[in-house]
Each structure stands twice: as C-alpha cells, then as structure tokens.
Symmetry: C2
Subunit: 223 residues, 2 copies
C-alpha cells in the first residue's frame, strides 16, 4: 500500500518531468540538475561557473531551498536570471515546482539552465525535473565512504565534482578511494577534482560543460 | 490528497514511536536520536563517546544507513552491542525499523541506546523513533547559513554539536553566526564546539550526556 503510493507519486512526477523536458528541447535549452549534501559547495560552484563561462553561454539558475532566499541573492549578484523555490519542508525538487518557475524566465535568452536542488544526498536523486543530465558534488570533508553508503545519487549522475580539495591536507580522505568506489557504482561517471575556493581544477569542468552544451546543438558563439 | 497520505504516515509513525518509548522507559533506558548531513561526524562522535564514557555507562548503538555495514563494523570494534539497519533507499529511520531491532538487544544490560540516523539534514527530523531527545551535528565545513536553510532539525534538537572546529582556520565559517542563527530557531538549544579529530570540547559533551542519563533516574555507578 505504502509502496504503491510512492510509486504513483514517482510516476506522476516522471510524466511532468518529460513535459518539462519537451519544453526545454523545443527552446534548445540545456538543463542540468545539481545535487549534493548541504554545504558541499553547489552555490559556490555556480558562482564560479557563471564567471568562468559568461563570455561563452547565457545561464539561468533555479535555486531550491527548504527556506530562505540566500542562495538566489548570491546568484542574482552575478547579474543572471535566477528564481528561488522554497519547498516549505520538502526534501527535494520535483517536476511541478520547476514548471511553476517557467513564467519567470525568458528561455529564448538562455543556453543553459541549472537547477540547484535542496542539499540532500538521498531524495533529490529519485525525482526527475526534466533535466538533460545530473551533476553531483561531493566534498572531501564528507569522507571516502559516501559512494557505497549513498549509491543512488552516484548511480544517477553523469558528472561527479569532488570539491574542497584545498582541504585534503587537513582531512582523512583518500580521493582515489572516492573515485574507485564511485566507478564501481557508475562506470560511466565523469569525475573532476576541484576547489571552488582556489579555483583549482575548474577549467577542466568549464571545458566539459561547454562541450556538453555544444553537443546538444547549441551554437555558443552565435548566441 | 498527497498531504493527507503524508499526514497518515507521520501519525502512524508517531504511534509506533510512543510504543517504543514506553518499552525504553520500562527498561530504564535513555535513548537519543543522532542526526546530521552525510559526513558531519556521527560515527566518529560515537566512537569517541564510547571510549570517553565506557567506565560510566553501558551503551548500545543502532546504525542507520541506506546501504552497507561500515558504520556498524566501526562501532563493533569498540566492543559494544550494535545493530545495522539498511533502509534500502529510504532517507530516514522510522519507528518500525527501530522496533525490528529490539530482539537483537538485551536492554537490561544497557543504560544508553544511541540511534544513528541516515545522513540527511532534512527528513530524519520529521520522524520520531521513540527517543528521549535528539542530538544533531553540524560540521563547520557546511557553512554558517545552514540553520536558516534547514530549520526543522535545529528546531527539533536538544543539543547541537558543532564539529570539525580543527578546520576553522581553513574554511570560511563564522561559528558565532551558526550559534546566533541556531538560537533564533531554537532558543533552548544546548551547543558544544567540538573536534572528534583532536578531542577538543568533547569533555563538556561527555559531562552533559552523563548528567542527561543520570537525570532520567539511571544510576550510573550502580549499573
């Protein structure tokens, strides 16, 4: 009984996510869903990525938080379109919440839309929002046992960004173990070691992201 | 419709949690529910607390993880009773899961039972398991904006342990802001600054915990 309720919710959400995706595709908009534990660096990554790619593509951001608009305010200071969703307690974003933001964007003026999910290494991985792909961040402060303990998000993500590598000298975390365990769960995972604080490793991520947007048929120079 | 389903699940869980609590009370067992984001230091705190209090009280642990038994193995090395729950995808522990572990413990041999929840700063705060009180950990690496962004767990907890203070020189996190924001949400919160790595601040936590157990009528010396 409980299982069938959950299944119905997930199926209804998948249908709405597909409708969102069709709208994004029609507008030639690439969308990724950014997920991590609280405080792993999602908003910091977006701040850096906006600065790093502002001459190449036009970004918009949807900020998901249970409460507060601090993250949207940080993004807005970068001068790009941003909409804050407050879930009011819910632990993840879903297709309907994303749909409700559409009237606040002009998709013709965007190449890339990033959905920053609620900070949670579990639930967001279960709910599609209409994204082309998922990107997750793991901070080295969280420890190397996280892939085996929270496998779904690693399984569902196309990219794993291993963040805060500037803290490696001060924490007990073996980055090779993270990579090995993550690849056991998802052999197709693309992984980058980065520090949003020092900027180390971000150029490789920017190049990958530009190529991912270009490969979907978006003409980065032409727009 | 969706809301009423959720409400029913929460109400059914509260009832089971009350039954668990009655069993704990009958056995004179103090129980706390330990919650945090992934990697904030729940298992490390338990390892330290077991060592720090082993001459004073008899502890048992329930380990909650989506998958794997790594945490239970770490606790078992300390030589105390531990049971691993694998939720198989679920993002929190509930009353039923805790009930299912009872046959694996001999409560007459315990003074304190700790329930280590799934690493998640959102969902575990909504589900009682029969605990006397909730303890949460926030790592300074997560940032000072967490109380205002994830208010429920701060609201529901009796104790906030601010962990990894050894990393303060290397991260942009103002501990006074954490405390100020947390107290706005929950003025009754008891807070400790700790490092499970260096041991700093742990004595104050041990003293508080001993007193909390003693104040529930458990004779620490007599058992």
């Amino acid at each position: 009984m409980k299982i069938s309720v959950v299944k119905n919710i997930l199926e209804a959400n998948d249908r709405i996510a597909q409708e969102n995706r069709a709208i994004f595709d029609k507008k030639g908009l690439v969308v990724f869903n950014l997920m991590s534990s609280p405080g792993a660096g999602k908003t910091s990554l977006l701040e850096k990525t906006i600065d790093g790619l502002k001459d190449h593509l036009r970004m918009g951001v949807i900020e998901g938080d249970i409460q507060s608009s601090q993250d949207a305010e940080r993004i807005a200071r970068r001068g790009i379109p941003v909409v804050q969703i407050n879930t009011g307690g819910a632990c993840h974003l879903d297709g309907n919440m994303i749909r409700d933001t559409f009237e606040d964007f002009n998709f013709d003026d965007l190449d890339l839309l990033v959905v920053e999910n609620v900070g949670n290494l579990v639930c967001p991985a279960e709910f599609q929002v209409g994204e082309d792909f998922k990107v997750m961040i793991l901070s080295v402060t969280e420890g190397a046992d996280k892939p085996s303990k929270y496998p779904l998000m690693f399984h569902e993500s196309k990219v794993l960004l291993i963040n805060k590598i500037d803290l490696l000298p001060y924490v007990d975390c073996d980055i090779q173990t993270i990579k090995k365990e993550a690849l056991k769960i998802n052999p197709h995972l693309t992984m980058f070691e980065i520090s949003c604080k020092t900027g180390e490793g971000l150029d490789a991520w920017y190049s990958w992201l530009k190529e991912a947007v270009r490969s979907r048929g978006v003409d980065l120079k032409g727009k």
